[in-house]
């Protein structure tokens, strides 16, 4: 087990190293002057010269990479000229909003996918199964930003059921976690919790649809595989009722491989938040990144790119370890 852990962590570190070189090559060693990219289009020559030496762009590439990686892990992610703030503090400020949105999107996708897929496979109706398959393709193929726009046009403008693009709604009085819904719950303020959830619903649903479709496809395929396993016939021969067979045996077996999709789901949430947040004026990292792109203030975008890779690798590592821990077949080896 220890060996497995060490090997997995080791290869994750190598991958992070490779990814950092790649990010460096893509973002720093391109023909465009990185100093101009960082300083923005309105900077004068003096600022650019200052940024050039600040970034060490006059040094050899090898040294530049070394400086880049050291400062990244030291938490020095650059300075956002348009916001007049260090990138790190900007990201830290906006992290809770994005985290809360991603959390709810994940919950919606996960609970929804497990519920409909298991229900359809239990009912064993060919017609429902076809419908589910089509639904999964529609979910995966719909551009999240367009869906967000449709949600606003229908559920806010036409029907008035949900708040418009006004972000997270009123902030709770005391901050514990930065997640509005949780902070309201801690404060015992249930109407505040309901308001926060009301604001979260549309953006979280728009963000959830892609991961939902993906999870449905994966879970459905796994369930189909498991249902045909000989041990299911054995269970019937033991006299186990179909409900128990389905929920106590088939579902856990189909569920475990679904865990491995955790990393891919996160990738979709990271990318999707950049697309969805802006439409709802959500004060999260995604909006920050788009603003950075539009103002050509790339320091924050660069930090976000490297950060996504590290989170992505980290989650995949976690999933592997978790999978090894949960699945008795892998646990021993």
């Amino acid at each position: 087990m220890i060996n497995f852990l060490l090997a997995r962590i080791g290869s994750a570190i190598i991958t992070i190293f490779g990814a950092s070189i790649l990010a460096f090559v893509i973002l720093r060693a391109v023909p465009t002057n990185p100093a101009r990219l960082i300083a923005g289009p309105f900077a004068n020559d003096e600022v650019i010269a200052q940024v050039t030496s600040q970034l060490g762009l006059d040094k050899p590439l090898f040294v530049q990479y070394f400086d880049y990686i050291v400062s990244f892990f030291a938490g020095d992610w650059g300075f956002s000229y348009s916001a007049g703030q260090p990138v790190l503090s900007q990201i830290v400020q906006r992290l809770p909003a994005s985290a809360e949105l991603a959390l709810y999107a994940f919950l919606f996708a996960f609970i929804g996918a497990v519920f409909v897929t298991v229900l359809v496979s239990f009912l064993a109706s060919k017609w429902l199964d076809r419908l589910l398959r089509l639904l999964s393709f529609i979910s995966v193929g719909v551009p999240p930003f367009w869906l967000a726009l449709l949600f606003l046009m229908v559920f806010f403008e036409q029907l008035g059921w949900f708040p418009g693009p006004v972000g997270r709604g009123p902030a709770p009085g005391s901050v514990h976690t930065g997640l509005f819904t949780i902070d309201y719950l801690i404060a015992g303020n249930f109407s505040g919790f309901a308001t926060a959830l009301h604001h979260l619903a549309l953006p979280a649903l728009a963000l959830a649809l892609g991961p939902f479709g993906y999870l449905v496809r994966l879970l459905r395929a796994n369930l189909l595989d498991i249902v045909n396993e000989p041990f299911v016939t054995v269970l019937h021969a033991k006299g186990v009722a179909p409900v128990s067979t389905h929920f106590q045996h088939i579902l856990p077996n189909a569920f475990l491989p679904t865990l491995t999709a955790g990393g891919l789901i996160l990738a979709q949430l990271l990318g999707g938040s950049v697309l969805v947040e802006r439409i709802f004026v959500w004060p999260g990292i995604g909006t920050l990144v788009i603003d950075g792109i539009l103002r050509q203030d790339y320091a924050v975008v660069q930090a976000f790119i490297m950060l996504s890779a590290i989170i992505y690798i980290g989650v995949n590592l976690l999933v592997d370890i978790l999978y090894g821990y949960v699945d008795p077949r892998v646990r021993r080896s």
Binding site: F231, V234, H236, G239
Partner: protein, 340 residues
């Protein structure tokens, strides 16, 4: 109706089971009848596709999962001192009480017959608690006892093992422990030794024989290997293309077979009836040709196209089961001429 000890435990009469496939309807079991007296073993022998597994799944009423249906016939279970159970017309809930409790089954593939994410103990406990009103702790004691009974060393610690931690032979022992945990009146063993190493096969056969005596159950033992049948069965039914072609006491079948197919099967065993080498798995290489297409069966005798004794008469009408000896029948019009 209360049964006496003279009534056989299981009666199967005129069983017909078919499957819908893309190529048409396959009559996997076509008019099969046999009885199993209490405490005895019936060996069912035949090539794969002969309908022997479908017969056992029909008795368990588990054919619907594979797209099959029981079209005709009677399956009756007569437990001593209790009303007869008409399996074909039982409601599903009562049928679940029969499965695993009155009739238990073990399968060919021990490697995939256990739920990989449940411990073996939990899988025995599940069976025990489904059919008996006992606490979890009692069921666990029972599970350990069953593991000891089937010869698993250190059952107190092994009970928490997962299937992947056990060898194939050990897993088949666990399957037997699950099947016997409720002391069934009938055990159906569908090729339980085929997937195992030769040395393990003999151990499992001995185990089944020993436990049969201890529990006093009947066994329906399915195999393609006549050598195994000689070891374990009291009576033998030979199946070919969905029908029983010969049925009789094990001695009669081995010493005086009355169907050419049985003769062919016997010839394919290097040392027939010898217990020194019962598991040699050379299979039917002395019978030329292949079994008939299940969606286009011959009109007359189904074995005629491969039969060395076939005459024109054989193609004309399906032969009935002729009585050829005491409790011995053969589906061949030329049975008096058949010999080893």
């Amino acid at each position: 109706m209360t049964t006496t000890s003279a009534t056989p435990l299981l009666e199967v009469e005129g069983l017909k089971t078919s499957f819908k496939t893309s190529r048409g309807i396959v009559k996997s079991v076509d008019d099969v009848s046999f009885v199993i007296p209490a405490g005895t073993t019936l060996g069912v022998v035949g090539e794969s596709g002969s309908g022997k597994s479908v017969t056992s799944l029909s008795i368990m009423r588990l054919v619907a999962r594979g797209g099959g249906s029981i079209d005709d016939g009677v399956i009756r279970l007569n437990k001593p001192g209790q009303p007869a159970i008409d399996i074909r017309n039982l409601d599903e809930k009562s049928m679940r009480r029969v499965r695993g409790n009155d009739i238990a089954m073990i399968f060919q593939e021990p490697m995939t017959s256990l739920d990989p994410v449940w411990s073996i103990g939990d899988q025995i406990i599940e069976a025990v608690r489904l059919h008996q009103k006992v606490s979890r702790a009692e069921a666990r004691e029972k599970a350990i006892e069953m593991l000891r009974l089937v010869g698993i060393p250190a059952p107190e610690s092994r009970v928490d093992d997962f299937p992947h931690q056990l060898s194939g032979g050990m897993r088949q022992r666990v399957m037997i422990a699950i099947a016997l945990s409720c002391r069934p009146a009938l055990l159906i063993a569908d090729e339980p030794t085929t997937a195992l190493d030769v040395t393990i096969q003999a151990q499992i056969l001995n185990l089944i024989r020993r436990l049969q005596k201890e529990i006093g159950m009947s066994v329906l033992f399915i195999t393609h290997n006549l050598g195994v049948v000689a070891e374990i069965a009291d009576r033998v039914a030979v199946m070919y293309a969905g029908q029983v072609v010969e049925e009789g006491p094990v001695r009669a079948i081995f010493s005086a077979p009355r169907h050419p197919y049985t003769v062919g099967l016997l010839k394919s065993i290097p040392t027939p009836g010898s217990s020194s080498n019962p598991m040699a798995s050379r299979k039917l290489d002395t019978i030329g040709g292949a079994p008939p297409d299940p969606v286009a069966l011959p009109h007359g005798c189904r074995f005629a196209p491969r039969c060395p004794l076939a005459i024109d008469e054989c193609q004309k009408a399906p032969p009935p089961l002729f009585p050829v000896g005491e409790n011995h029948g053969a589906r061949c019009i030329r049975w008096p001429e058949v010999s080893k």
